[in-house]
Amino acid sequence: MSNYAIETVGLNYNFGAQAVVKNLSLQVPKGSIYGFLGPNGAGKTTTIKILLNLLQSPSDQVFIFGKEINSNRIASLKRMGSLVEQPAIYGHLTGKENLLNRCILLGIRKSKCAEMLSLVGLTDAANKKAGKYSLGMKQRLGIALALISDPELLLLDEPTNGLDPNGIIEIRNLMIDLTAKHGKTILVSSHLLAEIERTATHVGIINKGELLFQGTIGALQDLSKPAVKIETDHQEKAISILKNEGIETTPIDELTFSIAYIDKAAMGKINTLLVNNGVSVYSISKERKDLENLFLDITSKN
């Protein structure tokens, strides 16, 4: 039995001559919140559509709970709930009717609707036409639709799109709740790292169809090693002093450069060394690249 809820093996997908997904090997562990990150147009939605078999993948490249998707389409979809792009809801039906319609399609008891409506905070708007919902309400209804079948695996494509800060926090808590208490697996796509940084246990970063990073959120943080930024009155002299001590420097601009951070004592020693050699140190500080910059770094490199 596979430990992955989703696994793609060297997945390729083209729209005509244009390769949208290149050699993608996603591994989404069961029970994780997998942040699927990438700038707009990176191939996230295409990948999610492939995972839902809305786009036909080559055989033996996509596995849902260890089963090949093309030959197990219905069985796989039974275990999945999804929200792709903007929520697809029938505008002429009320929120409740949209859920009831889904109950009919999935053969679920209709009492589930009220439960879902209260879960996403739409009980008061249950009998309002969904076409008149605000974007945030539509998004909530979309999430309710994805959750109604109580699926083991949720694919959420930018679920916080259009939500206000409160709504974003609610969705975040809901995702944590679903994985922690109910053992669900969630793949959530976003173009903002900050948005899922706090919830995701695993991260995959995609750009131009290629997976640039995949691992736990901790592994991503480890990638961003802290540095010591030093500003002096005499850059060249300072650099040569440190070079003699075997310390590597990276110039940032004319007055500042950085070195690798070891610990506070080492920072103090370097300061003393420079001052004793006649260099005035204007500032010396520890800097950590935040994940957002790291994300930008990773995605802009390719």
Binding site: S82, V84, A88, Y90, L105, L106
Partner: protein
């Protein structure tokens, strides 16, 4: 089979608030109602002609068949085929529909079946209302001769034929509406098709029966000719009906492959 059934139920559920659904009920009620009201208030005029029962039924049912069969029915069929698919285009719900654990063919077939059933309901109501309103008129205006002839068989055959003749147009329009999400293209083509169909059928072009859009007109015309002899003795399965059925079957299959293909984009 279960997939097909629940998709079909869902189609009903989704569209029960749409105009296409209600039109299937309102159209026959409105047209038959207006004609019946006309026959009630103008009873004296009609009675002057001293029609025997059979001819009176012919005049009476011909009024709704003529208005409806030639023009309103083809347009309704066009509109309905559009509406059934547009519900998904408009709401961008094709993707959710196909992300459900349901057989793709079932989802498609349920839509098609739903359109066919709506058409059936509409025509059934026409036949039923024509039949019952005739007898109600008889009760209200005892001088009428509706009681002298039982039009059940001839009406059933008329409307069965009209139903079969409309399946071709329905299927062609269904596929057009599947391909195009806008209103104008399928409706524009359909409009031209219907006008062309009526013209080719009426000028008696030898190959008119090959055009699905001519089928309802042809179906009505042939029945009218043979009605003078023995009313219920006309064949249902004439050339244009076979063409209509063949077109319907072909379009049903083509539509499915178009839908599969369209999804890949």
């Amino acid at each position: 089979m279960r997939s097909l059934y629940i998709s079909y139920i869902s189609e009903f559920y989704k569209s029960r608030k749409t105009l296409a659904f209600w039109a299937a009920i309102i159209l026959p009620v409105l047209i038959c109602g207006l004609i019946a009201v006309g026959y009630y208030f103008n009873a004296e005029k009609v009675l002057k002609y001293n029609y025997p029962g059979m001819v009176l039924w012919g005049q009476y049912s011909g009024a709704s068949l003529g208005v409806m069969g030639m023009l309103i029915l083809p347009f309704y069929v066009m509109f309905m085929a559009f509406s059934v698919n547009n519900i998904e285009h408009k709401n961008d719900t094709w993707k959710t529909l196909f992300a459900q654990p349901l057989n793709k063919l079932s989802i498609y077939a349920a839509k098609y079946l739903y359109a066919v059933v709506l058409l059936f309901i509409c025509l059934l109501l026409f036949a039923f209302l024509t039949f019952t309103s005739g007898y109600i008129l008889q009760m209200l205006v005892p001088k009428y001769t509706f009681n002298d002839y039982n039009p059940f068989l001839v009406l059933s055959k008329y409307y069965t034929k009209l139903f079969l003749a409309s399946l071709g147009i329905l299927s062609v329009q269904f596929v057009f509406s599947l391909i195009w999400s806008d209103f104008l293209k399928p409706m524009g083509i359909g409009f031209v098709g219907i006008i062309g169909g009526i013209i080719t059928a009426n000028v008696g072009w030898a190959y008119a029966y090959l055009i699905p859009y001519s089928a309802p007109t042809l179906a009505l015309r042939i029945t009218r000719v043979s009605k003078n002899a023995k009313p219920e003795d006309f064949p249902i399965f004439t050339q244009e009906i076979w063409v209509s059925l063949a077109v319907a079957a072909a379009m049903f299959i083509i539509g499915y492959f178009i839908l599969l293909k369209r999804n890949i984009k």
